[in-house]
């Protein structure tokens, strides 16, 4: 810290552009949070409420050993609900967004793996899941991957610029307010 008198505002001005972001950015992040949050909560809830189906959906990927399909079938949807709720609340926003991004990477990897192995399954992304008739849906995997990439993009945006309107994080810290 220099003893010479600094100009009155530039430091704060810098903070405002780098940390606070523009009002527009905050609204964009808010929108991204809400969209991703709703998607995760709905997708998770549909699976939580049909646990047997969720387990079959996991089994259909033929990736995990038998002993893990039940814990993952029950647990992964709960994780989605949790991350989705945190995003909706804007609580721990950056880390919730990172978690959402990791989930999307896992989902994309799963679908790519299934596609590469020529399995015909319902991804079980929004409930349902399991094997499907073998000739209905070759192009569906591509659509699902693109969709998850869009969600991954939203998650990345939020993680990079986590300050947003209507968030618990914002109410907790003066820097995040407004």
């Amino acid at each position: 810290m220099s003893a010479s008198a600094p100009p009155a505002t530039p430091t704060r001005g810098l903070r405002a552009t780098v940390v606070r972001g523009s009002p527009a950015q905050r609204w964009v992040t808010t929108l991204a949070r809400l969209v991703l949050g709703v998607v995760l909560v709905v997708a998770g809830w549909l699976k939580v409420s049909s646990p047997d189906e969720a387990v079959r959906a996991v089994q259909a990927y033929r990736i995990l050993p038998g002993g893990l399909t039940h814990p993952v079938g029950y647990g992964l949807p709960l994780l989605e609900v949790l991350v989705g709720l945190l995003l909706l609340l804007g609580l721990g926003t950056r880390w919730a967004a990172v978690a959402a991004g990791v989930l999307m990477v896992v989902f994309i990897a799963g679908i790519v793996s299934v596609w590469a192995r020529g399995l015909s399954i319902d991804c079980g992304c929004f409930g349902g899941g399991g094997a499907v008739d073998p000739f209905c849906c070759a192009s569906r995997y591509a659509t699902e991957i693109v969709r998850d990439l869009v969600f991954l993009g939203l998650a990345t945006w939020i993680a990079a610029l986590p300050l947003s309107r209507l968030s618990v994080d914002g109410w907790l810290t003066p820097a995040g307010r407004g």
């Binding site: 010479s4 409420s49 047997d52 259909a60 020529g118 015909s120 094997a131």
Partner: protein, 262 residues
């Protein structure tokens, strides 16, 4: 500190800034603690609610009870005079794809049995019961009740006939299901000789436990949908097919291959 000399303006401004920074840091810490605490509360709430929902909605079916003679949940309903190769067919009576497969390939499968080329084993799974959850009570759990009806027909030597009748009379809209009365009518059409014994067998849910055992076996074997075909325990890959007749051809080819190599 107590004898601090008079501050210059710059020093006092500096001190004020440091004080502000300390306050901001303290506030930041408080906010972090609050945030961690709130996240903890949300995690706990989701975990508890999730456990309760999963616990109440996952299958806790009774798996004890009578088993049709000569049948086990593991081994299914066997047909044919040979012991190898074994073609396992996993179906749910409510599954439209199974209906599609049966309509296109019934004769091919019958030929495997009658020619002594393979042992064909049917497994009647009930995983599509959830399709009728919101139906009137009389048609709820149609997969399970149809599977029980097939077991009751087995007792009178008419499993395959009943199996074919049910698939041929699937409702136009998946999930509509069947009433018990409808299943009794189908049993009559299938030529079940003692219809009153059949009706008693079905209405008393004689094979409810057995049907649940089959579902547990499906879970154990990680069968994830219907129809699923296994030849000597290996799932037949039918993903290259472009229609149900080709699926049947691929299944028969897999049987031929296994028969040739054994």
């Amino acid at each position: 500190m107590a004898t601090r000399p008079k501050e210059t303006r710059a020093q006092s401004r500096e001190r004020l800034r440091e004080e502000r920074a300390r306050q901001a840091a303290a506030e930041q810490r408080r906010a972090t603690i609050m945030r961690v605490g709130l996240v903890g509360i949300v995690v706990l709430a989701v975990a508890v609610a999730g456990f309760l929902v999963v616990h109440s909605r996952s299958s806790q079916a009774v798996t004890s009870g009578a088993t049709p003679t000569g049948v086990t949940a593991t081994k299914g309903y066997p047909f044919g005079s040979v012991s190898k190769p074994v073609l396992d067919i996993w179906e749910d009576f409510q599954c439209p794809n199974c209906g599609g497969f049966e309509a296109a390939n019934k004769t091919k499968i019958e030929d495997l049995v009658s020619s002594g080329k393979a042992q064909v084993v049917y497994h009647t799974w009930n995983f599509l019961d959830s399709e009728n959850t919101n139906n009137p009570q009389s048609t709820q759990q149609s997969s399970s009740r149809a599977a029980m009806a097939a077991a009751c027909a087995w007792d009178q030597g008419k499993f395959l006939e009943m199996h074919d009748q049910i698939f041929a009379n699937q409702p136009a809209v998946e999930g509509t299901g069947w009433t018990d009365d409808r299943l009794e009518q189908l049993a009559k059409d299938a030529g079940v000789p003692d219809t009153s014994a059949f009706d008693t067998c079905l209405s008393s849910r004689t094979y409810a436990g057995f049907v649940s055992q089959v579902a547990a076996q499906a879970d154990h074997q990680q069968i994830t949908g219907t129809p699923t075909f296994l030849v000597d325990g290996q799932i037949v890959d039918v993903s290259s097919a472009s229609g149900w007749p080709q699926v049947g051809d691929l299944v028969v080819a897999a049987v031929d291959k296994a028969a040739g190599s054994s």
